[in-house]
């Protein structure tokens, strides 16, 4: 299958799954719940925003490792062979099915091992304005970094995932970057040949 044709069908799969096979809820409940989580963490960690970032990341990671099963069950898509296909899967299918978003894939590295997702609408950040001290350090939507990290690890891709910029910090756009470190080999269980 040629790349454009496959990406078109991925888009169609994403939209069809969202439309017909997904139970939906009010996005604002999601937004408000996440807001409660972040603001409470900031209080609990006494405004040590680095700790909050890390906690959000680990929450996301825990979600990500379980989310993949849900995703594969719903879409029955095969494992991706390379980062380009992975990026398509993430942006056209995964984000669509879970968050009804289709972030743009851009800023490929020359070796095609890293790309960025541009989130031009982010349900997590509706209504949010960061306080001055948080603006310098807090990556408000950091749970998303963790989700991607955990999910990709479950499909044998060891990646670094991090936010490059965020409109909540005053940046012109929200950019999430994914870089492949290495492909994890499937481990052969002890005792089997």
């Amino acid at each position: 299958m040629s790349a454009p044709a496959q990406s078109k069908s991925l888009k169609a799969i994403g939209e069809d799954t969202w439309k017909n096979k997904t139970e939906k809820v009010n996005a604002e409940l999601f937004t408000l719940t996440y807001g409660a989580i972040v603001s409470q963490l900031c209080a609990d960690y006494d405004r040590d925003f680095q700790k909050v970032n890390n906690h959000l990341f680990s929450m996301g990671y825990n979600i990500g490792v379980r989310l993949v099963e849900d995703f594969l069950a719903r879409t029955a898509l095969p494992r991706c062979e390379n980062m380009v296909k992975t990026s398509e899967m993430i942006s056209k299918c995964a984000f669509k099915i879970f968050l009804n978003m289709t972030p743009q894939v851009t800023n490929w590295s020359s070796e095609k091992d890293a790309f960025s997702l541009m989130l031009d609408e982010n349900p997590l950040s509706d209504f949010v304005e960061l306080p001055m001290d948080a603006m310098k350090q807090l990556w408000y939507s950091n749970v998303l970094s963790g989700v991607l990290k955990g999910a990709l690890e479950m499909v044998q891709l060891d990646c670094d995932v991090w936010f490059v910029s965020d409109i909540l910090k005053g940046d012109p756009q929200t950019e999430l970057r994914i870089k492949l470190n290495k492909v994890l080999k499937d481990e052969v269980p002890i005792g089997e040949d």
Binding site: V25, N26, S39, M59, L99, N122, P123
Partner: protein
């Protein structure tokens, strides 16, 4: 004028700059003559409309987030009671926000959204605005579109208040506000009105809201501890509207409805007294 009060220097009329904002230790500041004509300080949250865009995410995503939140709170809690209290607190803040948001939105006349859509399309720089994409021109995105949206919003046609003739009356009676919780709030949160609203026959300060299948906790087996998030939302809502109460969750299976949950609301005594005094039995 005999003695001049010496105030902190930042409140001297000449030194005050419009960009400082309210400082509660200093008190009210006076507007400068041409200040009100200046472009307001740019701000996404004040430019964005409060209009309900009715966007959705998957129940899956919500459930994953909810369950991870539960796990986080669980790790920090020292007892089941502590857990329920903390979880209640997370919901409480949401409830206090919803009492204002939902009533404000409810005050907007029903024909508003039709006229506003055409405004969006004619003014926005993005051609592909549609409901399902959710990119409804609220100021996010690239630099150029952000400034377009800011400019448009600051023209003043975007506020809900401008199109509201009369605000929805504040609920003054227990039954009225509980109707709002059972109907409007439940539908907003869970997609449907609650399955029942009941007044206790035993105690006059007790009411119950019934949900046959709580949306958030349906995947969490055993115990109604996790329903304290919803309890918090209800309590925050009612407390803010000055109907102070305690809310607890109880499992009350009925027939095939084995996840049926009752949210018990116990109003403070003086709420009952006020209700009886003002509005009669």
């Amino acid at each position: 004028m005999s003695q001049k009060i010496i105030l902190p220097s930042t409140s001297d009329d000449g030194i005050y700059t419009p960009s400082d904002g309210y400082e509660y230790t200093i008190g009210p500041k006076q507007s400068l003559p041409n200040e009100a004509n200046a472009t307001p300080t740019p701000s996404r949250i004040y430019s964005d409309s409060l209009m309900h865009r009715k966007q959705e995410v998957s129940l899956s995503a919500m459930a994953f987030l909810f369950q991870e939140m539960i796990a986080t709170i669980h790790r920090a809690s020292s007892s089941a009671q502590d857990f329920e209290t903390r979880l209640n607190g997370y919901g409480y803040g949401i409830g206090t926000r919803l009492v204002e948001l939902l009533n404000l939105r409810n005050s907007v006349p029903p024909n508003y959204s039709k006229s506003s859509t055409s405004n969006f399309l004619s003014n926005s720089s993005s051609a592909s605005i549609n409901e399902s994409h959710g990119s409804s021109g609220t100021g996010t995105g690239t630099i150029s579109s952000a400034s377009d949206h800011t400019h448009y919003h600051e023209n003043g046609t975007e506020s809900l208040a401008a199109v509201i003739n009369n605000m929805r009356p504040r609920d003054l009676k227990i039954l009225d506000i509980l109707q709002f919780v059972h109907g409007t709030m439940w539908t907003y949160l869970f997609g449907h009105a609650s399955d029942d609203l009941v007044k206790s026959s035993e105690r006059d300060n007790e009411y119950m809201i019934v949900d046959n299948l709580p949306m958030l906790t349906q995947f969490i087996p055993a115990g109604r501890s996790c329903d304290y998030f919803t309890c918090g939302i209800i309590q925050g809502f009612l407390d803010s509207a000055e109907f102070p109460c305690r809310v607890s969750a109880h499992s009350m299976p009925q027939g095939e409805l084995d996840q049926r949950t009752v949210y018990l609301i116990q109003f403070d005594r003086h709420v009952l007294e006020r209700d009886n005094l003002r509005f009669g039995p």
